[in-house]
């Protein structure tokens, strides 16, 4: 009986294998052609963004051009925002063959994948085939994105610094004659909020935001491990134990008690759409002329005040990148394409804005305006594709927009931990526990919904129990080693 069972089982297994093998007779792609472009190659490119109707038409044009230039066709696959992360994770772990993928600090995690060996190291490829783009991309990007000296993805050239600003609904500012020129921190908001609270019944003074804290966070923003931006910047700390955190959160809670912040702030996931003018102040991440963009999409004027000078963080240099997959059969060709994408104005604009005459019209002075087809059928995530500073300007863009970006980048200050990528493997369990504790406490604390004098100590106690010190020690150890090599 036993034997019979085993026999039948193995028979079924053999049959199954046969079926699988029969179906897997996939066409194998052409041989690697070294560095020449003799053979025609098709590259698969995964990009984040909502699939667009006109993508096929545009890609036809793109392929015409890339075929002529580097004898390459591109098979672009757009994966929607919400699913990009999960999909890329499965694709990477399953060892699927693809050539280029979008990667960043917030989706398809760059540092994690690079460490895991999912991406090809690009230093040599870049020197050989990426010369044109290397000249154009801000060196801070190329340096800051290196992990242990090796670059694993081509960063998008855009604003390199990160700057949190408070933005104000200017209608209300003007209406009540408020002076925002003296607002440099969350504390300075008090008198203005009081006026709004008293005189505008239908306005929530603060559009719920997390308090700004002056730290460079390791891993995610909410997690406690961070480097200070002032003072002793070489020591990793639990930012929830710092005095400045207590001060800031107290102010936030004060505002909450006074009714400046909505009651459900801690749990609400409501967005505060700009088009609805039911808010007075909010926190945003800035880039040059962002207030113009915001004002345009809001339909009323928005003005900003900066909370700090722009800093270059790991998260900002790895905000948008293209990596070459370790499973790629044609890494050289992929690099040639990325080089073209980041340095060739025609190709870059074609991918971003679509086809001239169909998706946009060009004015005599070289600026462009969108046609309805672009708004409806070809709305690409500009910042995710590549070098932004060679894009054509819209007719209502300021003429010096890209110069302003360059100036902004020059003014940005490097964070002490720029270029330090923590390998979290040795303390994975502790980080998981800490991250649980954090997601329990941090939303309510950072949004001002609970009293920090009561909850911060409780939070920190739980963090300690979850193994905080062990993680801090590990980070410090790795940081010191990294620092020595700089």
């Amino acid at each position: 009986m036993e034997m019979k069972k085993v026999g039948v089982l193995s028979l079924v297994l053999v049959l199954l294998m046969g079926i699988l093998a029969a179906c897997s007779g996939k066409s194998s792609s052409g041989e690697t052609s070294g560095d020449s472009t003799e053979d025609h190659v098709t590259l698969t490119w995964y990009l984040i963004g909502t699939p667009q109707k006109d993508v096929d038409d545009v890609m036809k044009e793109v392929n015409k051009y890339t075929k002529e230039k580097i004898n390459t066709s591109i098979d672009l696959k757009l994966l929607d925002w919400g699913e990009y992360n999960d999909r890329m994770q499965v694709i990477t772990t399953s060892g699927e063959e693809y050539d280029i993928a979008f990667t960043s600090s917030w989706a398809n995690n760059y540092a994690l994948n690079a460490r895991r060996g999912a991406f090809v190291g690009l230093n040599d490829l870049m020197d050989e085939y990426g010369k044109d783009m290397k000249k154009l991309i801000d060196p801070a990007f190329l340096e800051g994105a290196k992990i242990d000296g090796e670059l694993y993805a081509v960063p998008t050239n855009k604003e390199v610094g990160q700057q949190a600003v408070l933005s104000f609904n200017n209608e209300l500012v003007k209406k009540h004659g408020l002076d925002i020129s003296k607002v440099n921190s969350i504390e300075d908001l008090e008198p203005l909020l009081a006026v709004i609270k008293e005189k505008e019944k239908n306005v929530t003074p603060i559009a719920t935001f997390d308090a700004y804290l002056p730290f460079d966070s390791i891993l995610q923003e909410e997690l406690p491990f961070a480097f200070r931006l002032d003072g002793n910047t070489d020591e990793v700390v639990n930012k929830y134990e710092e005095d400045i955190t207590m001060e800031t959160l107290k102010t936030m809670h004060e505002y909450y008690k006074k009714g400046y912040i909505q009651k459900d702030a801690a749990t609400s996931t409501d967005s505060w759409p700009l088009e609805t003018a039911n808010w007075f102040v909010r926190k945003e991440i800035y880039q040059p002329y962002a207030e113009d963009i915001w004002s345009r999409s809001a339909g009323y004027e928005i003005v900003t005040r900066e909370l700090h000078e722009p800093y270059i963080f790991n998260n900002s240099v790895t905000g948008s990148m293209q990596a070459i997959s370790a499973t790629s059969k044609h890494p050289e060709r992929a690099m040639m394409f990325l080089n073209l994408l980041n340095s060739d104005e025609y190709l870059r604009n074609l991918l971003d804005k679509g086809i001239e005459g169909v998706h946009y019209d060009e004015n005599e002075d070289g600026t462009i305006k969108d046609l309805p087809a672009r708004v409806e059928n070809y709305n690409m995530p500009s910042f995710a594709i590549g070098n932004q500073l060679i894009l054509k300007l819209y007719e209502d863009d300021p003429a010096d927009k890209w110069e302003a970006f360059e100036k902004f980048n020059e003014s940005a200050k490097a964070s002490p931990a720029l270029g330090f990528y923590f390998d979290s493997n040795p303390v994975r369990t502790e980080i998981a526990a800490i991250s649980n504790v954090t997601s329990e406490f941090s939303p309510a604390l950072l949004k001002g919904a609970v009293d920090p004098e009561e909850y911060l100590p409780a939070f920190n106690k739980k963090l300690d129990e979850a193994g905080m010190q062990k993680v801090l020690d590990e980070i410090q150890k790795q940081y010191d080693e990294w620092k020595k090599e700089q």
Binding site: K77, E96, P273
Partner: protein
């Protein structure tokens, strides 16, 4: 008792009514007042929005209906045949085949092997079959159906059919099937629901916007919304990203159109459902 049941029924229906109300609310008043039972302003804006993207919605509807009908038919066929075979004592390997089905309920390969088999061996990426085949065989339903066949199809009837000279197919089609309508209908309903509600397979295997089913479209919109909210920096980079995603009322309107047809089809199954489930649920 009536009052109690009535209250309970109302509690079940209420969330859905609420969704309908929100879908009919004015977006502006939603942003200002949050969800309200009686909105300040009614509006058909959300449905107008869906009407504008009707090409996509209609296509998604088409995919869902096709997958549901075809999938239900295929899976009911496979399950009934499999279950019938292992329910008959004359079939020598019935223990082994029961075990093979049962085994998959205890152990599964996991997501990555599943993905590898589907994309690299079967090459089903971006194919309608990727939505149908993974759910075609369900071990649990096989077990239920087997029990059902054992209980409701007496061996004596089959015996007499055999004496009259009927072959296996003929017995199955003209005697076993008509006797098992409640069981089959129950399994069919389960499968219909499963196919109608499935979004996960589409998430894994479908990039082609022409092949996205309704639930997956809904899921995508929801996920995008969450994702963009969590990554606030994104909305600043490209304000158009947020604009391209429907707001609250439109999302609720999508829930309504995605749920209504299947909710309405339920009464037609119901008379089989009660009988089928009780019989099929008893294990010998």
């Amino acid at each position: 008792m009536h009052l109690l049941l009535g209250t309970f029924a109302f509690l079940c229906i209420f969330p859905f009514l609420y969704v309908i109300i929100i879908s009919l609310s004015n977006e502006q008043s939603l942003a200002e007042n949050g969800y309200q039972l009686i909105p300040e302003q009614w509006s058909f804006e959300a449905y107008r929005y869906l009407w504008e993207m009707k090409a996509q919605v209609v296509r998604a509807y088409g995919v869902t209906i096709l997958v549901t009908v075809l999938g239900t038919f295929i899976s009911v066929t496979v399950i009934a045949l499999y279950a019938y075979a292992i329910s008959r004592k004359q079939f020598i390997f019935r223990k082994q085949f029961t075990f093979i089905a049962f085994f998959t309920m205890l152990f599964s390969g996991g997501m990555v092997p599943f993905y590898i088999v589907m994309t690299q061996f079967l090459d089903l990426k971006n194919s309608m079959w990727a939505l149908i085949l993974p759910m075609a065989v369900n071990a649990f339903y096989i077990i239920i159906m087997r029990t059902f066949f054992l209980r409701s199809v007496p061996e004596a009837i089959l015996e007499s059919a055999r004496i009259d000279g009927a072959g296996e197919w003929r017995i199955f089609l003209t005697i076993v099937l008509p006797l098992s309508v409640p069981g089959i209908a129950t399994i069919a309903l389960f499968n219909t629901l499963a196919y109608w509600n499935d979004w996960f397979n589409a998430l894994l295997f479908i990039d082609d916007p022409n092949l996205i089913p309704l639930q997956s479209l809904l899921m995508r919109i929801e996920n995008n919304m969450d994702f963009i909210k969590q990554n606030a920096m994104l909305s600043n980079q490209n304000s158009s990203i947020l604009e391209s995603i429907p707001q609250d009322s439109a999302r609720m309107a999508m829930v309504v159109i995605a749920t209504l047809p299947i909710a309405l089809s339920y009464p037609f199954f119901q008379k089989y459902f009660i009988k089928g489930l009780t019989i099929g649920g008893v294990k010998d």
